[in-house]
Structures are given as C-alpha cells and as structure tokens.
Subunit: 477 residues, 2 copies
C-alpha cells in the first residue's frame, strides 16, 4: 500500500479525471461550438503484424479560422476525455480570433472514446501494448497531415502544438520528434524532467508544502503533525476516524488507515495544483486561492490528535464538498476504475516513471523513499509489465535538448509539477516562462478578471512567440 | 513475376549482400583491428508486452581514440553483416587518426548475427514484427548511451553518425530523431526521398541508362534492344538462351525468361552502383570503370537477336565472372534466401517502399509502371503484411526537413540512388555534396590513387564539417 503513495499523486496530478469531476462540469464554459470527428488510425504505427485500426476522436472549431492557410492550434490530448480538455483550455478559445486560428483537440489513444480495442482495451498487457507516448505522437502526426491534405485551404497552415501537464510533455515532444508537422509548441506545466535522476525526487512535495506554509500560519505544521495523529488512532480509533472524516465506507484495518493517509496526501497535492486565484472547478469546485481557505482550519498544529484531525476534516471537506452536496467522503475516489485512471496507471508503470519522494523535513508528508524495485514489482503484479526507467531519456533526450527549437515551457511557481519543468531558457527558441503566482497550467485557462499580472504577461509572451512562429512559417523559414 | 522487377533492384541496390560477395572478401582490406562486442537490447522498444532482449553485435576500434572525450564515429549499420560494412567503409578508418576518433560499427537488428529470435527471426510476421527503422534507431541510441556511460573518458564524446545507402538514410534519420545522441550525420548515397511521390519514379533507371550511354557508343541501345531479342526467343529458344548465358539451371518456361530479364536488369543496375574508377570488389570483383568494360561488348545494337544476346552474355559474364572462377551463371543469385535479403525483402514490403518505374524511352529497360497494389498483394502473400506508403513520410518528414541541422547528404552523379537523394543544400547545416564522377557511396570507400578529384574534394568537405561539429560540441554549443 505504501508503494501506492508514489503512484497516486501521479494519477490525480497529471490530470486524470476523478469521476466526480464530470458531474460538476459547468454548462457555461467559455467555449464555442465545435465538431466531433473521428479518424482511422493504425493501432500499431511501429509494427506491421497488427494491421487493424481504431477510431481516434478529435474536436474541431474553425469559426475564427482564416481559410487561406490560417494557423491551426492543435491540442495534444492527454490522459482523459478530450471534451474535458477542450472545455478547460480556454486560452485556445481566447486567442483563436486574434490568430485567425482553427482549433483542434486530439484525443489521446486509450482515453475518452479513443479506445483501440473498445471495452477490451484494458483487459491485459497485450491489449494495452499500444498505449505509449510514441504511438500517441504518431497518431497526432498522422491526424495533422490528414487535416492538412483534406481541409481546403489548410495545406500550408502552420500548426502549433499546445498542451498542459502530460499533454504539455506531448506538445514539447511532438515538436522535438515531428518538427516537420508542427512549427512550435506551447508546453504548459510539462514536467519533462521529472524522470530518472534529472531532478531531485523531493522537490515536488516541498513545493506543495511551501504552498501551504505561505497560505497560513501553522498550516503545513498542522498537516505534518496529522500523520502521527492518525497513526495514534489507527489501531483503536478507526471508528472515530471514520466518523470524524464522514467517510462513506468505514475504515476497518491498519491498511485502511494508510489509505486514508494516501487520500489526504493526494488531496493536499491536488490543492497545490488547483490553487487558482479565482473560484474555479478544475478538479473540484473550489473558492479562489483554496489553500488559503483550507489553511483557515489549520492554524494550530499543537492541538491534541483528535482536535487536530477534526480540523483536518474541515480542510479536506472544503475540497471535496465546497458545494455542500456530498453526504459523505470517499477515500477511494481518486482510485476509481475510470478509463482515464486505468490508462494512466499503466503508463506510469511503463514509460512515464516519475520518481517522487518525501522526507518529512523539507516537506510536510510522511517520509517515503523512492523505490523503483517496489514499483516494478507492483506493476508486474498489476499489469504483467515492468517499467523501463531510462527509456524516456533515450527517446526524448532528458536535459540534452538544446538542438531543438520553438518550444515554450511555461510553469507556475505554485505548481508542484514545476519541480520537473524547464524553468530557465535553454536557447533563444527554447524559452521558459515562469508564472510565480500560477498553479498547474493556469496560463491555459480562460482569462479572468482576477488573473495575476504574471499570468497575463506569460500569455502575452506566448501569443507573441506563436505569432512569430506563424509569421516565419508563412515566409518559408 | 513482373512485380518482382520493382522489388529486386531494391534488394541488390540498397546493399543487401548476394551470397558470392562473402566468398570474395579480401583479407587485406585497409582496416585495423577491432573488438567484437554485444549489447542486450529490448526486442521491442515501443511496447512493454514483449520484454525479452536480444544480443546486438557491434564492432569497436579505439586505437586512434583520444581518451579525453575524443569523438566517436558511429556507423549506423544497414541490411547486412556488420563486418562487411566495417571492411567496406575505409573512409572511417582513413580519418580515425586525424580526428582522434573511436570507430563503432553497429549491426542492424535482423541482419548478420543480430537476430532477435535466432533462427526463428524470419519465420513469420510475428517474429518479423520488430524489424523496422524505428526499432533500429532506438537500438543505436541505446547503444551510444551505453558506450558513453561505460567507457571511461567517453561521457562527453561527440558522436557522429555515418552510413551509406540505407545506412545513410539511418544516419540522417538518427540525427533527425535523436539529436541529443549524435551531433551530426554523414548520410552517403542515402535516397531519403525515394518515397511516395517525392521524386519521379523513373529517374533511377534513367541514371542507370545514362551511365551506359556515356560509357560506349551503342551500349544502352544494345541493352534496350536485348529485351525484345529475349522475347523473340522465349518460346522456342529457351535452350539456346540457357546455353548462350551459361546458365547453371536451364530456362524452362516463359516465366523463366522473365526471370532472366529481371536478372539482367538487376545486373545493369548493380553495375551502375559499383561503377568505381579503380579495380574493386564491392558487389563483385570488377575492373576499373566496369561499365566501360562491359560496353566494349555492346557496340552494335543493330545485330540480329542471337548475335546481340551473345554480346550481352559477354557483358554480364564480365560482371559475374571477372575472376574466371565461375563455371556457370546463376539467375537466382540475387534472390538467394540469405538473411540479409530476407530482412530487406520484408522491409521493402512494410516501411521502405520505394516507387520505381521504367518507360523504355528515357531508359533502356522494358516499360514497367509502378504498381503499389500489386506490391501490396505480393507482400501479403509472402509475409502476411501490407506496406504503408505514407508512414515513412509522416515519420521522417519527406522533403520538409529544414528544421534539422548538421547533416551531410553526399551523392554520386553516376549512382542511380542519387535520384532519391538530397543533392542541393537545404540550409547552412543541411549540406548536399555531389560527386559527379562517383557511383554508390564512393566517398565512404578508402582513398585510392585513382580517386577522381570530385571525391577527394567531397571527403575534404565532409571532414571539415565533422571537425566543425566536434569543435562546437566541445564548446557546448
């Protein structure tokens, strides 16, 4: 169970959609009408024995597109339903008119409706075998070329890849591997260096901790102290814990107490990712600066175990029940068997192995070493596959990417994933944009009156560079 | 059988080794001692269900290497035994000392000793599934990284990819896809544009024809007339044809006459590729400028059928029997089931689909349209796979490669494969080197007193650019 601590944040963190999310989607998102389309894609681009195809879904909005080779903004879909990404990437909708751009949102294989083997897609390692970033990028390349050859006036349209989180990694990698397909990429909150030993494994959780430390006196200390409080109650106080946290299913074993702690850890991580400056509902409906709100309950770390944990409940209840609709809280929520999570779990067990660790000193979490061997065993048990730690570096270059061009790496200073991001310029055309007041890909969200200056500036810079790429492409550079 | 005409030249042309070749290898090649090594490679880099490994062979020569991060010249092995490429790439041996370079020759999976499933490797489409250029490039990337981390003093060694023919395509693609692994590439006689409709399908054979036209009066016309002469004799004169051509196995059917014509066609193509200015034994032991020698037998195209064909025999006999050791000629020679040919045949049926055609007007061959559907049927019949015509363009960019850097494309004016090569500069760092008097990757061969000025200049240019890449890498650019 302990091993899962290192995996679960990955699931929520890089954007997999917990089931409740879909229920809370607002109807009034700043999104225009779009068409839903499907393209036949090879299930296996890299081998010829499997010659079947599947239907990849993509969304297309061309109301602002200038037909005479106006640009295409291409969202490189990540680990979830593409409609959700479409609805949560307001930035693309906001700039479509200014750039005279067509918007395309491409769904990642094995997510949403784009299931290579339908209901069988997750049944075993044979069916999951084609779920890799390389296959997804090949889908994107084939789709772009299909659009350019079939849409009148798009033949010479410059295409810009845009993505956030894992989708941001894909956007950057897409430009690196297929520069003939996309003239540039905006990789928002893309932790392309959260691999192997490229960055310290503990920075992620120390950023989470800092977010809480800055948001209220006693806040991070309260959380740090909460683990032992739970431990003290985990033998005789399970019933009390279940009642106090309003859990839908009562805790029954010592292992269940670990589940509770994992669930709390992930809640704090998620809060750090969605610590937006305005009321929003990215992972949950939340008030502006939600960590500040949460920290209002966590001012006194020196309280007794029970009083402290009652406050912790108030804090997480704000996250899970801001609307007041939840009658109880579900600790298995982030481990639902939704397709998005299934696929991401598999990817985290194969290519996308992101070392994370805590020490309880530089962060407010229970100490947990990074344990690759344990992960490997867990993955083998679950999927019959073993992760390959160094493959992603061989494939995408690790830190040695200076020969590429036209990629913007944007990162939020509040976002734990910035730990693995590119936060300094690599060259004139590999540009880092840091948004000190930004959480997880804030820049990709719709503009908002409460946006801090730093994200306004970041977006202006991004638009400026995208225009430059488009202009250069138009003149055949 | 007609369909094979379009495939067979591919087999010989891009360098697969007919069996006799190995018999003629000289012991006294200008090659120093080297070590033979093996590295465990994933059979499938792009999927996790197949987790077995195989032993990739590579050859290593470090006698001239400067241990303090001296450069590595890395031969991207193509469709044959790596020892043969090592022995036939004298250029690398010639420049090793000047560049203080380590030489590495990496064998391509499914060729030579690097068989993923041993004797079973070619048994069916399941076992052949991992024979693709992408898998081969991944092997190369993993091998380079392995060498740099395990050889003391090589950690920061700049690596330059070098290859000829299909190996040249791999060298160019290696730099395009893994610029973090190699600082540049010398792609000699690499027809990276002999795909889809990037170049006219007929240029290849018109270059062959020009080589013969320029090498003797009446020569190409004699060959053009020979096809009808064979046709006239193909019903009642099979015995005469068999005797005249000293065939090991007599022709028996009309189809056998087609085999004879295919074999002759391929002979002329091979001669065009190895039309070197000095005695050499690349595909066969041959005199200097072999086409000129061959054309001495083919001066009078207006002879009667039988006299014309007796001359054609003299011509091909020079190619197949220059040493006088052959007691008969074998029309199935280039279709042997040697591993190299098996693998290449499969690749030509999947990714490496190179449209070729003849019209009998701009070339001296029997007219033959490019017929993708027929190829597809043939491939399905033989291997149970179907070629994908546009995949290679999606993957490697077709003509749209200007965003890459540090690649030299060298091509010989006499080489039919220059039809699909890059023969004009694309940018300051994507440089075309044309060698008007050169046949197939003449520049990669050892220097020779009879080398024309053009190849000497080409090599000087190549060395100069390689030094520039090495210098820049050393200064961290």
């Amino acid at each position: 169970m302990l091993r899962l601590l290192l995996l679960l944040p990955l699931l929520g963190a890089a954007g997999a959609l917990p089931a409740p999310l879909r229920r809370h989607r607002r109807a009034s998102l700043p999104v225009g009408p779009y068409l839903t389309r499907y393209l036949s894609q090879q299930i296996d681009h890299f081998g010829f024995d499997e010659n079947r195809t599947f239907q990849q879904r993509y969304l297309l909005a061309d109301q602002h597109w200038k037909k005479d080779n106006g640009p295409i903004l291409f969202y490189t879909g990540n680990e979830g339903d593409i409609e959700w990404f479409c609805n949560n990437t307001g930035f693309m909708w906001d700039v479509a008119e200014e750039l005279n751009a067509m918007l395309v949102f491409a769904e990642h294989r094995y997510y949403g409706e784009s299931l290579p083997f339908g209901n069988e897609s997750f049944s075993d390692s044979k069916h999951l075998n084609y779920l890799t970033s390389e296959q997804a990028l090949a889908d994107f390349a084939v789709l772009v070329e299909y659009l350019k050859t079939t849409i009148a006036g798009a033949q010479h349209s410059p295409v810009i890849a845009i993505g956030g989180s894992y989708g941001g990694m894909l956007a950057a990698w897409f430009r690196m591997k297929y520069p003939h397909v996309v003239v540039g990429a905006l990789a928002a909150s893309a932790p392309i260096w959260q691999f192997a030993d490229l960055v310290p494994c503990g920075t992620f959780f120390s950023i989470v901790t800092n977010d809480f430390k800055k948001s209220g006196k006693g806040c991070s200390e309260s959380i740090r102290n909460s683990w032992n409080a739970i431990n003290h109650l985990s033998s005789t106080g399970l019933q009390w814990l279940s009642n106090t946290f309003h859990l839908c299913s009562p805790l029954k074993t010592l292992q269940d107490a670990a589940v509770l702690k994992n669930w709390l850890s992930e809640t704090w991580v998620n809060l750090a990712m969605v610590n937006y400056p305005y009321k929003a509902d990215f992972l949950q409906p939340l008030p502006a600066w939600p960590i500040q709100e949460v920290c209002k309950f966590l001012k006194d770390p020196s309280l007794s175990d029970k009083l402290l944990l009652q406050n912790v409940f108030q804090a997480v209840n704000l996250y899970y029940n801001y609307t007041g609709e939840a009658s109880c809280l579900d600790v298995s929520q982030t481990a639902t068997k939704s397709l998005g999570e299934m696929g991401w779990y598999y990817q985290a067990c194969t290519e996308i192995v992101m070392p994370l660790c805590t020490d309880g000193v530089h962060d407010m979490f229970e100490p947990q070493k990074w344990d690759f061997d344990a992960l490997s065993e867990e993955c083998y048990r679950m999927w019959g596959v073993r992760p390959r730690l160094s493959w992603i570096l061989s494939m995408y270059g690790g830190k040695n990417i200076s020969s590429h061009s036209n990629i913007i790496f944007s990162n939020g200073g509040l976002d734990p994933w910035s730990a693995g991001g590119v936060t300094q310029n690599i060259s004139n055309s590999l540009v880092a944009v840091v948004i000190p007041d930004g959480a997880h890909h804030l820049d990709l969200r719709s503009h908002n009156p409460l946006d801090p200056k730093s994200v306004q500036q970041a977006r202006a810079m991004e638009i400026c560079l995208m225009k430059e790429w488009i202009e250069k492409a138009r003149h055949g550079h």
